[in-house]
């Protein structure tokens, strides 16, 4: 019975793929070419205009806050049934335990102080990335006159307006868009990450932490190696700034490219094929969240290790 089910599933999948390959090119004449824009679109809500990535960000926040408030409600109320976790509490505890063990493995004893920040980074970026994959993101919105470039014609079906493939002067301003497809959000996260690295460094090593960057002691101790160490310090200073750029653009680039990929694939082959890329984007979203958290953890580990300990 099990085998029959598998065979059926495979046949259905192949059939859908074949159907998609036939219908896909035919469908192109009905499918709207996506309008891709790097900056967030401004959605008119009442009299104010709100960036749609801000709405995506707030939804991600609400999902996270709601999940954890609901998951920890027995613990916070101090009820005895919290000792035997059930349902949502199980999920929340699993997430928390997995992440804390993972980070303690990297950072050791220093992990405790940084756990809140690092886990927040991971969960926020994960939810903000995955939320993009829900239906309605990038596709439902208000129709506006196009600002520049080519637009599409519109067609009315009942109370709803649809863009058509014909050329016209309208474009879609979606209500929802993933937060990390707006460069401001990843850059803000990158700034927080790099700033907090300095804070943890100072906490661990005192003001001597900054001798990593401007190493006057090495310069005055003289010798060729002293001058070299001073120059290395200047290089370290520069690398703090490139960190901000690479943190920010790594996240932005991956998620923005994912959004463009999904839009383009959905307009090339509207059936079945996008599913594969949705799975890919699930993976990319998780990996980027993990990379952001782990890079922050690794940089803090370097910053708190102390310059003198190696010698």
């Amino acid at each position: 019975m099990k085998r029959v089910g598998t065979v059926l599933a495979v046949i259905v999948l192949i059939g859908l793929c074949a159907f998609s390959c036939v219908i896909g090119p035919l469908g192109q004449q009905w499918v709207v070419q996506p309008h891709i824009q790097m900056a967030a679109e401004m959605v008119p809500i009442g009299s104010v205009k709100v960036p749609n990535t801000l709405i995506g960000l707030l939804i991600a926040d609400l999902v996270l806050i709601g999940l954890f408030l609901a998951g920890t409600r027995h613990i916070r109320a101090g009820r005895p049934e919290a000792m035997v976790p059930r349902g949502l509490q199980n999920l929340v505890e699993t997430i928390y335990e997995f992440l804390t063990n993972f980070l303690r493995g990297i950072l050791g004893e220093r992990a405790e102080k940084m756990l809140p920040l690092l886990i927040t980074f991971f969960l926020f970026i994960l939810v903000a990335n995955w939320i993009e994959l829900f239906p309605g993101f990038d596709t439902v919105g208000v129709i506006e006159h196009v600002h520049k470039g080519e637009g599409h014609a519109v067609r009315q079906v009942g109370p709803l307006l649809f863009l058509t493939h014909e050329k016209g002067e309208y474009m879609l301003v979606p209500f929802l868009r993933a937060a990390n497809t707006d460069l401001n959000v990843p850059l803000a996260l990158a700034l927080i990450s790099v700033f907090m690295t300095q804070v943890y460094g100072v906490q661990a090593l005192g003001w001597g932490y900054f001798s990593r960057f401007i190493n006057i002691k090495a310069l005055t101790s003289g010798g060729f190696m002293g001058v070299m160490n001073f120059l290395v310090g200047l290089l370290e200073t520069l690398s703090e700034f490139t960190k901000i750029i690479s943190f920010g653009f790594r996240l932005f680039g991956n998620i923005f490219a994912g959004m463009v990929l999904l839009l383009v694939i959905s307009s090339l082959v509207p059936f079945v094929a996008p599913v594969v890329f949705y799975i890919l984007e699930l993976f990319v979203g998780a990996v980027q969240a993990l990379v952001f958290m782990m890079l922050t953890a690794a940089f803090t580990a370097v910053a708190t290790a102390g310059h003198g300990e190696h010698h």
């Binding site: 493995g105 750029i245 690479s246 790594r250 990379v291 782990m294």
Partner: protein
Amino acid sequence: MEISKEVMKLLAAALAIGLGAIGPGIGIGLVGLGGAQATGRNPEASGTILTNMILAIAFAEAVAIYALVVALILLFVA
């Protein structure tokens, strides 16, 4: 056909990200090779290897990100 400024911009952006992705691509491939080999030789250390591998990938990827930044600047700012 005369090559306009617009066409040159598109070409430059495409070349910037296309050529800039070659090196990091090779680099990430090498990191993956090293990670897979290390895990094969010492499966118990797979956790540490994964951590170091992702870190090394991130550093290799940073180069591609600079190319991406250049391409985006060419497309949207220049």
